[in-house]
Amino acid sequence: MKPNVLFLIIDSLRADKFPQKNQNNSSPNISSLVQNGTLFSNTISSANATILSWSSLFTSKFPFKTGIRSSRFNKLDSNIETSFDVLKNNNYRLYGYLPKLSETVGLFPKFDNDDYLYDFYIGLSNGLGEEIIKKIDSNLSTPWFFLVHSMDLHQPINVSKKFDITKFGMSSYERKVSEIDFWIGKIIKKIDLKNTILIITGDHGDYIKSTNIANKELDFNPDHNKEVIRSKISKHAPKFLKPLKDKVFFSLEKQAQTRKSKMLHDLDLRDYEKRAIIAGKADKDHFLFDELIKVPLLIVSPQITKNLLINQQIRTVDIFPTLFDLLGLKFQSDIDGVNLKPLINSESMQEQPAYIESNPLVLTESNDVIGIRTSAYKYFRDKNQPSKRIHLFNLETDPYEETNLSSESELIKKFEGILISLLGDYSEKISQNTYESDEIEQELRKLGYV
């Protein structure tokens, strides 16, 4: 009998904030799972935001090969094989809970449960957790693949009262991780782990907008309730107000940044702390620092080594080839990911360079970057012009990526070479497209051509 799979994606979950095996106080459930599974502590997501990360994770291909370029523009290329195709072809029943955003990219299949889409602001504690448990209890047809993408850690973070205390961490981010841990505990109680592979990972990381100075927590996170109200007003505003609405949004973001910069001026903070606090949703200049792309990967399965911590760099494109190996399945098409079985079996395996790409903004044009990460170096540069916005960091001596070695021309040449070889024939197609075909048809109709 094929094992079931519970695949949990925690949006914005950073590797450095993932509970370790000794965190029984704040996150006992994940802590216990870590002791019973294999944890990859250096998993690099292909992108710094959800859409491109999904496109890569669920196809095991780098995002530029999938057709998906950002949330409103292009859907998955219909010729691309997804992990859902492989699972369906092998008689897996697909269940899931995903934020509504997932509808826009044409990546996800029709899940067996009709209620698989939920509103962005619904969290585990305000309905989603109970829904998941109810579904698991409902006698799922086997073998099943159950995908959950939780938005709980996504900004603005809303910590339940019970978890909003120091015991669960200093920042709202850490406290929310504990709250998620609570729900993971409730969910796995319903699962027979002898016949289920459990995977927990993140789609990307995030800046943590709080810091601790002299035991005092300075919190720059947006207020959850205000953000919800703002989003609702924005959603229901008439279409003709959209340009004004966008203008107001960018103006408010700019004001907030100026305010924060002034506040930070006299504080003794490191560069990486400052950049996290100042970063805003409307920033046009995008970056690929580790806090944005390094996620955890935990695999728990009877077939897998227990209590194993693997620090070697791996990539989110490697997750499905590895899972499929455990399930005895295989992609039929060429993929970029590799099977991590040798590492799980404590054998040596050559590190693969991770392709990384920033996700474009939707409301306006952003300055996006693409690059390469190895365990030793991080290289990224302007997506469209190789000689612009070059960033190179020595991750061994500068793990917080504060010293840009952009004048190291030999190293830059070397990493640009790796990047170009990964891009291959796609190097000309990397740029963001503008409108999707339905939108074009609508415009052509206005012009009388259709």
């Binding site: 523009f73 292009n74 044009e365 997506k383 469209n384 012009q385 000689s387 000309e428 990397i430 740029s431 497209n433 503008t434 409108y435 999707e436 075909s437 074009i440 048809e441 415009e443 052509l444 206005k446 012009l447 009388g448 051509y449 259709v450």
Partner: protein, 369 residues
Amino acid sequence: MNLLFITMDGARKDRIVNAKNYSKLIEKSLFFSTTITYAPFTIAAMHAVFSGIYGTRTGVNSYWSNINFKKDLCKTLPRYVKDKGYTTYADVINKLVLPPIGFDEFVIHDELNDNLTERHLKLIDKFNNSRKNGEDFFLYLHYSNIHTGIMEKVLKKYNNFSEEYFENKDKNEKFYDELFSAADDYLGKIIDHCNEINLFEDTLLVVMSDHGISVGEKLGERAYGVFCYDYTLISTVLFYNKKLPNLKIDQQVRSIDILPTILEILNIPPDSNFMPIQGQSLIPISQGMDEPRIAFSQSGNPLDSNKPPKAPNIYSVRTDEWKYIKNIHDDTEELYFLIDDPGENVNLIDTVQEKAVQMRSEMDRILNS
């Protein structure tokens, strides 16, 4: 030097050269009367004009392919001037018609309801104020009301094979003349106003038409964007500034030559970080150099469908004397001697084989370049 660029959408050459205001402006300008458009429809035509590169390379070769524009590889006019510190503004008919990159503001007008004359005069005044403050500007104005009339009274009423349309050429001509007369009035008012405020002292004016329009010449094309015949392929461009010669040049040039010409007048060198511009400046021709320009064009025949195709299915190569057309959709060819047969009625493909071979090879060269 500022840049005021006006596109007269769908203006036919035969009307342009005889219209009252247009011809007055032509007399003062450097005017190219035979400017072959890359595509006889605005979307692909203007992406080629703005990049100086054919759609075969930019990715925009059909009504649908705006999304394929290689904006990272093709540097467009607004980006060139933006890099020089210009404020850039476009007022256009629709968001698909131009690559928006490089414009500070990219505004869509309502072609059915807006008064374009008033709207554009206001914009000119607005940028004249910036000019007085010493700021350089690039203002792009799209005159879309010929399209509006054709859309309402031709595209929506007839199909490409409507007997009623093709049997009433005189009526079609008359209707087009009405639309063109309004366009000429618009141009007259814009130019008069610019003269009143002495805008051209330090502003380069470019006025072009993006393509022509059928008045019923060939069954199968009630307007444009279907075939590659001269009534839609021939457009015009004029450059006006006191420093430029006033010349009327009938030699064939290409719409992809417009960008490099503007760059030369504005003293902006091509950016070697981007794909090379395929067009060449027209200034040497204005100085008397004999530089023949072979033009390549592509169009999309919808055939039995009510939608234009996703990829071009008719290609053409044109010299001052000859036109070769390759119909990809039915694998046929056409060859016309334009000097004797400007209406492109006598297909010489089987009779002048040597020329056919030469033109075919020219098309291959362009497609493979």
